[in-house]
Symmetry: C2
Subunit: 358 residues, 2 copies
Amino acid sequence: MPRSRVAGVQDGAPKPEGEPVLPAATLRDVAALAGVDRSTASRVLRDDPVQSVREDTRERIFEAARRLRYRPNAIAASLRTRSTQTLAFVIPDLDNIGFTAIARGVQTAASAAGYLVLLAEASPDEDRALFERLTAERRIDGLLVANAGVQLARELPSGVPAVPTVFVNRAIKGAAASVTVDDRRGAEMAIEHLVELGHENIGFIAGRPDADTSRRRRQGVRSALKTAGLELRDAWVASGDYTERGGAEAARAILAAKRPYPTAIFAANLVSGLGALRVFIEAGINVPADLSLIVMDAHPLAAHTGPPLTTVEMPLYAMGVAAAEMLIGAIRGGPLEHRVIRDEPRIVVRESTTSPAR
Amino acid sequence: MPRSRVAGVQDGAPKPEGEPVLPAATLRDVAALAGVDRSTASRVLRDDPVQSVREDTRERIFEAARRLRYRPNAIAASLRTRSTQTLAFVIPDLDNIGFTAIARGVQTAASAAGYLVLLAEASPDEDRALFERLTAERRIDGLLVANAGVQLARELPSGVPAVPTVFVNRAIKGAAASVTVDDRRGAEMAIEHLVELGHENIGFIAGRPDADTSRRRRQGVRSALKTAGLELRDAWVASGDYTERGGAEAARAILAAKRPYPTAIFAANLVSGLGALRVFIEAGINVPADLSLIVMDAHPLAAHTGPPLTTVEMPLYAMGVAAAEMLIGAIRGGPLEHRVIRDEPRIVVRESTTSPAR
DNA sequence: TTGAAAGCGCTAACAA
DNA sequence: TTGTTAGCGCTTTCAA
């Protein structure tokens, strides 16, 4: 039996009924206690290098702040400085497990620079309102947009005061900045893996036709096949739309075409690969004995599908870090640019790929 | 071939080099253009019911605001009203797929009430700093905390001006408010499902011993087994710690115990169930023929494991909605309380459970 | 080395 | 029905 202390109802912070909740101390209170002017207190507490302050004055101010548990009011500071120390990271779908690695990179880089991150999900029909709310109302200093459709970039009303914006995992022509990964190389590596296993008949479940990532992945497929002296048959290509359902439909389309079937398939992302996998299994196809499957996007769960999926792991965390760093740099006057993270993708071999049957 | 317009590099918002970016209009500008005082403009634009305004004045003000593309500065309003219209939703781990349904519920309810949600991930060693930053600096009006450990509640310095806080999926004694689901009932239903299939030897992979959800799930297991006249053998129970690794270890522990093995196992959450599933499969155990497995937590990906997992789907979305609504109510002066969402959990039967072999 | 004064953009008493 | 006034709490010249 576990000790009841552990298994019992948890203790939390008991309400401190005794201590009256004082109204939060302001800079004025600190200054009064330290016997200085508010401006002096402000300079000291912010470590303002512009003017020097006598050591004992500094100490008096710090001591007063400590005793009053002074915390600056960020809202008031923002109003004055016109800087909120906050970024927004907008994603289209929280359920899309691909974004967590990016988000973690963003968070890490932002925290390191003292920025807070407002992570928000916005479906295509809501995003305009959200963007307006964030930027027009001056709640953020900069914006990161992942996976969002063109709509959003196109529709941002030009009257809205522009905050620096970096697109993540999406190269939008005309946008000032973006950070992407080398999708083309990742797709090439997927095909190379299949070719090394001996496959000659390779199919492709593509992404959303209107997404630029999809275009680059398709290019990678073509170029790697060409290098291997192989051909991409029309009947073996279908759009999986980056969704589970799209992947399933693509799989059915490939199965519906006349034989021969391909012996291996590369799906342009994890979710569409899952949809396809399901269709194959339900059709009685043995993966990988009859058909190998490799998908783009790494996620812990890929290890738990039936069979575990061989994946192409892209440097998503690094992409998030780079995007946040570029954005913060831009806020501070640095350049916005289009950047591609060239860290080599990694093939994680699991059980869904093997050599073709003879 | 797709039209090149579609497959090509995407167009975004071209930089409007022509239009000079005007400094954003303020209330003062609107008032001047409409020929009224700032206060009048403010009242009209906020739809302040306190005082009435002549119809033509209203129209002049709206027209001026429209022409100047006026958007109120939320920071300035916040400073004055001491309300940010922003909530924070703090979660311990973005990768935990269980939280997305909750987050979506929170978002929906918050948006409906005009609140923005700041979704933040905070590991146990960071959360204090984050909380201070959010509350002490007065960036938010209320706080939702999901899955967080006791630490956080216990350690919140009492000097920090308290924002209303609602714990989500976690009942913390001493905390003012929480919203949870009926974990006990969910666990009972899992066991009932196995019993109905004819299982008599049922094992349990429990959650983190220090989590209150884990305690309730354990209670449910015991009570349902008791009702069925079955016993829970010590050798068939192990803590999976709510992690994949913990689940794997628990599975190994159960396999290491002397026979007989249980014919079915209930894992207290999805991730630990995945860890266990993997161990079973690697041990050559056929799931479900040799061993049925049911897990708590619904997620689309549960349909894609090998075999697809039978799950207990809890009303997580409803929990998120309820938590946000309670919090917003509290901000507006309403009560904080401990609430349990009693919506009946749902068993989603997939292929990982079947009747025991004879 | 410090203080005085002004003001970020808005809202809310109160007065007219 | 509308305007006057006084801040919210902070930062930032400028002057002493």
